[in-house]
Assembly symmetry: C2
């Protein structure tokens, strides 16, 4: 397949490497001339503009930060291939892309480092790669084309709606970053607490060391879902607060977290072929399952083993 990757940082650069390694014809572009030079020196074809990069391709992957994405999209007018992206919020991008041939994506891959210099052809091997689909909107053949492409890189492709994605990542990534931030800030002024802090503090605050601008962009970009989930969890904290007076009330509340954490990650079942309708795929994602490969109209899926799950 002929694929253009726009934006050649950690994710875009890794994708360029991985797709080329899988035998696809790839061309890249980045607004930063320095990044373009580094990618050319690494032996990849780099175009001089977005229109030049996308000409004649089957798929365009937008691997640019959310704030600059709308500007890049304007350069896609008239393009008749399939567009996807890799940004960490899917509802707002879906709004920007309305009326275009588009399937939103989000590879759950990252590193402490960034930029093309940190890119890695194996970055997506084994990672969860969300591909969004919506009833009465997504063209199943387009979704399957990308699912085949990314499972071919070793990714577990998870089918979800944009709204479900945004809520799920608020829960398991964005709100945890906010919790870590307020916990970590405590030792800034309280050196005694810093001297006594050990394992529970170290692990519970690790992601607070992320650059504040990145965390702010991630959470701000998913503002509605982050706010809803943050308020829900603050309600759970208020219930724990009220139960502090009564161990009989506190234990069952804490037990929910204990059972869920001991059961995570769920044990994966064996691969099995399934038909690939939109409803069936969304049910697969909601059950904690994913697509592991695609053959024609059939998807091979893996689901959590029944009876060995967190719930």
């Amino acid at each position: 397949m002929r694929i253009a990757v726009i934006g050649l940082g950690l994710i875009g650069g890794s994708l360029l490497r991985a797709l080329a390694g899988a035998g696809h014809g790839v061309v890249g572009f980045d607004a930063d001339p320095g990044a373009c030079s580094a990618v050319r020196e690494a032996g990849f074809r780099v175009a001089g503009s977005v229109p030049e990069a996308i000409a004649g391709t089957d798929v365009v992957v937008l691997a640019v930060p959310l704030p600059v994405l709308p500007g890049v999209v304007a350069d896609l007018d008239g393009y008749d291939g399939l567009v996807t992206d890799v940004t960490s919020v899917k509802g707002p991008v879906r709004d920007v892309m309305r009326g275009r041939r588009y399937v939103g994506g989000h590879p759950m891959a990252g590193k402490e480092t960034s930029g093309f210099a940190a890119s890695d052809a194996d970055l997506f091997d084994g990672c969860a790669w969300v591909l969004c689909l919506e009833e009465d909107e997504t063209v199943p053949a387009d979704w399957l084309l990308l699912a085949r492409l990314f499972t071919g890189l070793g990714a577990r492709v998870v089918p979800v709606t944009a709204a479900e994605h945004d809520t799920a990542v608020a829960r398991i990534s964005h709100v945890p970053h906010l919790f870590a931030a307020v916990l970590a800030a405590q030792v800034g002024a309280d050196r005694l607490a810093g001297a006594l802090a050990a394992g529970s503090f170290r692990d519970g605050t690790r992601v607070a060391a992320t650059r504040a601008e990145l965390t702010a962009a991630m959470c701000g970009g998913n503002r509605d879902a982050v706010r809803a989930e943050l308020r829900r969890l603050v309600g759970e904290l208020a219930a724990l607060d009220a139960a502090l007076d009564d161990p009989g009330a506190l234990v069952p509340l804490l037990r929910r977290g204990e059972v869920a954490r001991r059961g995570w990650p769920a044990v994966a079942g064996d691969p099995r072929p399934e038909m690939s309708g939109v409803s069936a795929l969304l049910e697969l994602g909601r059950s904690g399952g994913w697509v592991t490969s695609v053959r024609d109209d059939e998807v091979v899926t893996i689901r959590p083993e029944s009876g060995r799950n967190p719930s």
Copy 2:
């Protein structure tokens, strides 16, 4: 020195081993006959009762859980040696011990496992060991006796008031356990979130796998400080919530956590001798420092390096 250890679980058992290894005369007691047999088989002297264990000793260490501690204290009537303890909350124990010769302690050491079978003579090597002291209450010679004893096991002895201790551990351990519990519980019912969860979830929720009864006893035992710190941090989360609409407001709030976490743990300075008055020791603890050894009335201390600290 002659030392009795009452309670022979992970901490008490490890202390028995460590003190014997340092050349002290030790005797143990546990209310569980099975535990007593195991300790005897390991070659240690075990008494048949608390009064028998403490007779003729210089120091008694209470290594029993908080709920049973008041019952054990009743057996100390008439004892004229020095009493300390190892429980994770210091204000309530101070109240129980009023009128006795007592210095409260809390070694910040633990393991996933429990019981004498898990005990380890090296458990306290390098760990922070809080020893409480209060102006106009603590006898400095008693505090120094214990500081010498525990620094002799390799511990960093941190001087703090009971109230400062309870606030600090609420901040860096108890409230982080509550945060982890509500974050972890999310994947119990939401299998999609569980399938997408990765590093930030894994680390931020690790301690949620602790048995709910243990977390409830720990937080409930320090209820007042936990509640105050939990409410303060919920206020910080509300400030982040309000700032989600404005990246310019969100970044500086998140930066506090980023700077504090990147600066933790603080870099330790070189050891230096200092005089050992109560006020000076409390100032040492508040500055993030600790006692590393004791010689007569002089303590050798280590403080965080100025200019390389979180604040």
